[in-house]
Amino acid sequence: MNAASDVGHHAQRQARWHYGEIAFWLIVLACGFAFPTRYLIMTDILRLALFTMSLDLILGYAGIVSLGHAAFFGVGAYAAGLLALHGIINEPVLALIAAGLAAMVLGFATSFLVIRGVDLTRLMVTLGIALLLEALAERFSNITGGTDGLQGIEMQPIFGQIPFDMFGKAGFFYSLAVLFLLFLFARRVVHSPFGLSLRAIKNNPLRAAAIGIPVNRRLIAIYTLAAFYAGIAGALFTQTTAIASLDVFAFERSADLMLVLVIGGTGYLYGGLIGAVVFRMLQEFFSTITPQYWQFWIGLVLVLIVLIGRQRLHRWVLYVPNLVIKQIAGRKAVVAVPESDA
C-alpha cells in the first residue's frame, strides 16, 4: 500500500461503520417491538435524543455553548402545531419539514449574534433569545393560545396512510425514522472536511483562520443546521403529543439539554442518544423511589460523572462487551468511543 492510499485509509477510519454502531441501532429498533406498552416514554427519549444531537452539533463539534436551544425547539413545536391546527399543511412529514425550516430561518438570523464574542456572551445571547420568544408567545396569545397552549390539534395520517394511534406506536416508529435519517445526515456531515473544520475551529480558532478556514461562515452554517434539527425535534413533540404550550421555550428545557449532553458525552453524535436514554431512565428510576427529590440524585450522578471522567466510565462500562468482541473479531476490534473533549 503506498503512502497516499494509506493516508486515505486512515482518514476514513472514523467514518466507517463500527459493529457497535449497527448493534446500537438494531437494539433501538428491537425496543419498539419488545416494549409495546412503553411507546410514550420511548418516543419521548427519541425526541430528546434528536434535540440533544442538535446541541452536540454546535457544542460538541463547533464549541458554541448555548443556554437557549429551546428557542428552536419551541419555534418548531408551534410551527407544527399551527400548521396542523389551521389545516395549512395536513400531511405530517411535510409539516415537519416546514416547521424545521421555520426554526432554521430563526437560527440563521440569530447566528450572527451568537458567533460574536466569547462563551459567556454566547450563553447570555442564546438565553436571551429563548426568553424573548417565550415572552412573545405569551404576548400574542391570539395566535399561540397563550398559557393554555395550542389545543385541539388533530394529526392527519402520515403520508395519508398511517394514522397516529392512541398507544403511540405510529408515533414511535415515525420518530425513530426521522431520528435515524437525521442521524445519518449528521454523521455524513461531521466526517466531511466541513465537519473536521468545525472541530478545528473549536480547538483553535486562531489557527483555523490561519490555514484559510472562513471561521464565521462555518459557524453560521452549523448553527443554522442545528436550529433545523432542534426545530424538527420540537415539531415531533407537537405531532406526537398533539399539544404545544409555552413550556417548549422554557429555560429548564435548554438547561436539561446541557445535562443530557454532558451525561452522554460531546462530540461523537452518540452522546446525545445515549445521554437521552440514561437521563430519562435515571429520571424514571429516581422519581419512583423518591418522587420529590429525584433532581437531587440526578445532580449527584452528574457531579460523579464529571469527577470520575467519562473516558474512565466508558472503559468500565465497556469492559465486558469489549472482552466478548475481542474474542469474536480479533485483538484490535473494540467498541470505539471517540471522545474529543475528554
Binding site: A11, P193, L196, A200, G212
Partner: protein
C-alpha cells in the same frame, strides 16, 4: 527584482503607545529575509498586521502588488501568505493527518465540502502523504497532537503553514523552545524550503539568522533602524549598540 510583500508607512498604536512607527518594508521574491530586534521591538505586532490578526491604524500592506490591508485572515492565506506561530497554535484533539488534511482541503477549495468524506480525494491524500513524509510525521499521523513530543509539534506547526502552499511564508521563531536534540530536524526543514517560497523570518537566535538570511531588517521600538545584507548589519555600530550589545558577532 520583484517585490512580493511590501508595507507602506505602516502605523499601529495601542492606546497612546506607538508599537509600529511608519514602517516601510520591501521583501523581494525568493528572499530569505530576517526581521530582528530586541524584545518588545514590535516584531510579532508586525506579523499580526501582515497576516490580518491586527488592523493597522494607517498605512498599507501589498501582496504581489495587491492591497490586502483590509482582507480578513483566511483570505490572505488563500492568496498565498501563510505563517507559523512563535507558540504552537495547533489542534490538540486532532491528529497530524487531520490537521494537514484540513489545510490542504481548504487550499484546494474542498474545505466547505459537507457531503464527501475526508480521505476520498486522491489529490488531497497524495499531498498529505507527501507533507507527512517530508516533515517526519508519517509514523505519528494517527496520534492526537497533544500527545506528540514538542519537536514533532513544532514540525507540524511548520508543515501546516507549508500545506497552504504559500508564496510568502512568515516564520515566527521556528526553533523557539525546541530541545537541542530535535533542533536539527527543524533547521533542516527550514533550510530545505524551495526557493520559490519567499521567507520572512523572525528570530532571536543570531546563529540561525546569520546562517539563513540573505537580508536583515532591524526593528527598534516599532521603527526600522537599518536594513541590508548580513555582513553590513553585523558591522553596523548602531545595531551593535541597541541590539547586539557587547556580544561579538562572527559572520
Amino acid at each position: 527584482m520583484t517585490i512580493v510583500l511590501e508595507t507602506q508607512n505602516l502605523e499601529k498604536q495601542f492606546g497612546g503607545l506607538r508599537v509600529t512607527r511608519d514602517l516601510s518594508l520591501k521583501i523581494e521574491q525568493g528572499a530569505r529575509h530576517a526581521l530582528i530586534g530586541p524584545n518588545g521591538a514590535g516584531k510579532t505586532t508586525v506579523i499580526n498586521q501582515l497576516t490580518g490578526v491586527l488592523k493597522p491604524n494607517s498605512g498599507r500592506i501589498l501582496l504581489e502588488g495587491h492591497d490586502i490591508t483590509d482582507l480578513p485572515v483566511h483570505k490572505r492565506v488563500l492568496r498565498g501568505l501563510s505563517r507559523t506561530f512563535q507558540i504552537n497554535q495547533l489542534y490538540p484533539d486532532l491528529t497530524p493527518l487531520e490537521t494537514i488534511g484540513l489545510a490542504v482541503s481548504e487550499r484546494l477549495g474542498h474545505g466547505g465540502d459537507w457531503w464527501r468524506r475526508m480521505g476520498t480525494r486522491n489529490d488531497v491524500n497524495g499531498e498529505i502523504a507527501d507533507l507527512l513524509t517530508r516533515f517526519h510525521l508519517l509514523d505519528v499521523m494517527n496520534e492526537q497532537t497533544v500527545t506528540l513530543p514538542y519537536g514533532k509539534q513544532r514540525l507540524l506547526e511548520i508543515a501546516v503553514a507549508i500545506a497552504a502552499k504559500p508564496r510568502v511564508l512568515l516564520l515566527d521563531e521556528p526553533a523557539a523552545g525546541v530541545p537541542e536534540s530535535e533542533r536539527h530536524d527543524i533547521l533542516a526543514v527550514v533550510a530545505a524550503l524551495p526557493r520559490d517560497v519567499t521567507v520572512l523570518l523572525i528570530e532571536h537566535d543570531m546563529d540561525l539568522v546569520f546562517s539563513f538570511a540573505d537580508r536583515i531588517s532591524v526593528l527598534v521600538s516599532g521603527a526600522l533602524l537599518t536594513e541590508g545584507p548580513p555582513e553590513q548589519v553585523a558591522r553596523d555600530p548602531q545595531v551593535k549598540a541597541v541590539y547586539l550589545g557587547e556580544e561579538a558577532v562572527n559572520v
